[in-house]
């Protein structure tokens, strides 16, 4: 009976975990592309500023970034975000920066000849990017993206540092009452989550295996 109740509670925590996961992906995936364009810009000052920003975000623990987003605006009296939005802002910025580097690597790995072939056929730059290059980039970065997305699942547990009650926090709350096993039980949920994602990415990789770059 207790097991059943606790499972339900943990599933509720998993809902928050999933919300962090989905919102982060939905916003960080496109934002990362924009940041990657910034870091590859021919306008040197923009490229420089973007690269420094990415360096800072990747160089500082995500946990610290969550604290910064949650507490620092308050210090300056510019009003502060609630706990959950703070987590989302920190996660989106952090993951967008990681994604941007993966995108950049992927985009720069596409041979110049692909752009030139498009150009001499009278295609516009944007057409070449979206119709020719992007698909190849996606194929090329899928393994690294899969890694990053799996890391995100586990990073969601960091939200508890500002008392956002996600999966692990629910279990931790039981530990405060001397009930330890739910903490270990959460592993089952994370493993199932990551298992599904692994299958999903495997499926995508297979779907794109009809051609070679």
């Amino acid at each position: 009976m207790q097991f059943f109740e606790i499972t339900l509670k943990l599933l509720e925590g998993l809902k928050t975990t999933t919300l962090i996961f989905v919102l982060t992906l939905v916003m960080a995936l496109p934002l990362g592309l924009i940041i990657s364009f910034g870091s590859m810009s021919k306008f040197k000052p923009l490229a420089f500023v973007t690269k420094v920003f990415v360096w800072i975000i990747r160089g500082v623990p995500l946990m610290l970034q969550i604290f910064v987003v949650f507490y620092v605006p308050g210090f300056f009296g510019i009003g502060s975000l609630d706990r959950f939005p703070s987590v989302i802002v920190a996660f989106v910025i952090n993951y967008a920066c990681y994604f941007s580097e993966i995108y950049r690597g992927g985009i720069e790995s596409i041979p110049r000849g692909q752009y030139e072939a498009g150009q001499v056929l009278g295609m516009k730059k944007s057409e070449v990017f979206f119709k020719v290059v992007l698909m190849q980039v996606v194929k090329r970065i899928l393994p690294s993206m899969s890694n990053e997305v799996i890391t995100l699942v586990k990073d969601t547990a960091l939200a508890r540092v500002i008392m956002v009650v996600e999966l692990l926090k629910v279990a931790e709350n039981y530990a405060a009452y001397g009930l330890i096993w739910p903490i270990f039980y959460t592993a089952v949920f994370y493993l199932a989550y990551v298992g599904i994602l692994t299958l999903l990415f495997g499926y995508f990789e297979k779907k794109l295996s009809y051609y070679k770059i």
């Binding site: 041979p111 000849g113 072939a117 009278g122 295609m123 770059i213």
Partner: protein, 254 residues
């Protein structure tokens, strides 16, 4: 005035002068081959002509008109490394760019979906015809990775022909191919010559150049060191040309 006139084209990379005032003329329907040792500026010349590189100076005239961007003249370029789009089939490689243009025109003139579908069908048909003409009708739904190098290069020639180019340029179209399959690509190019396609071909295949060309230019260190009919070039007593050609004979015989 000839159909194609290249006047005094120059190009430097930094301090290195790669093209030092190139003048070339070619009549409609004729074939020009460019030979010369590696680093002499052949590729750069073709890249400047196809706007992949901006020339520092010089003009290109087509049919008595100075060529400008958007004047309706079309050049096709076939690359040494094919540069097919790997995620598209052979026929899709041919139809991609024309479909985009058709869609754009359709939108601008508000011609409607029906008309667009008709245009797409026309493009598809033309693509299939061109693939047939390069001997690849049965490979139309194959992806580049499923084709041999020679077949890929023939697809890329067909792709360049989709735009009905006024002039078709080739940059060493067989250099990336195994010797035993260069023949199938050269045959396609000879076929185009027989149909009076105006072509400019950079090549190291001397026998082919001799057979197919109306005119050959020999480039050396950014200038045209010799030019003439194949007959004149292969019997020339120009010292640099002689050296180049005999180096070729040597490497061929080894």
């Amino acid at each position: 005035m000839a159909f194609l006139e290249i006047k005094n084209m120059s190009k430097s990379f930094g301090k290195v002068e790669v093209l030092k005032g190139i003048n070339i003329s070619l009549e409609r329907g004729q074939v020009l081959s460019i030979i010369g040792s590696s680093g002499s500026g052949k590729t750069t010349l073709l890249r400047c002509l196809n706007n992949l590189e901006e020339a520092d100076g010089g003009e290109v005239w087509i049919d008595g008109q100075k060529r400008e961007l958007g004047d309706g003249t079309t050049f096709g370029l076939v690359f040494q490394s094919f540069n097919l789009f790997p995620q598209y089939t052979a026929v899709e490689n041919l139809s991609l760019a024309p479909r985009l243009r058709a869609k754009e025109k359709n939108k601008k003139l508000k011609l409607g979906r029906e008309e667009l579908r008709r245009e797409y069908a026309e493009i598809e048909q033309k693509a299939e015809e061109l693939l047939r003409s390069v001997g690849l009708a049965d490979k139309k739904d194959f992806y580049p990775c499923q084709l041999s190098g020679g077949q890929q290069q023939r697809v890329s020639i067909a792709r360049a022909l989709m735009m009905n180019p006024d002039i078709l340029f080739f940059d060493e179209p067989t250099s990336a191919l195994d010797p035993e399959i260069t023949g199938e690509v050269l045959k396609v190019i000879k076929g185009l010559a027989a149909q009076n396609m105006t072509m400019v071909i950079i090549t190291h295949e001397m026998n082919f150049a001799r057979d197919v060309s109306d005119k050959i230019v020999f480039m050396d260190k950014g200038i045209i060191a010799a030019e003439g009919t194949p007959e004149e070039i292969f019997t020339s007593d120009n010292a640099r040309l002689h050296e180049f050609l005999s180096a070729f004979q040597l490497s061929k015989n080894n």
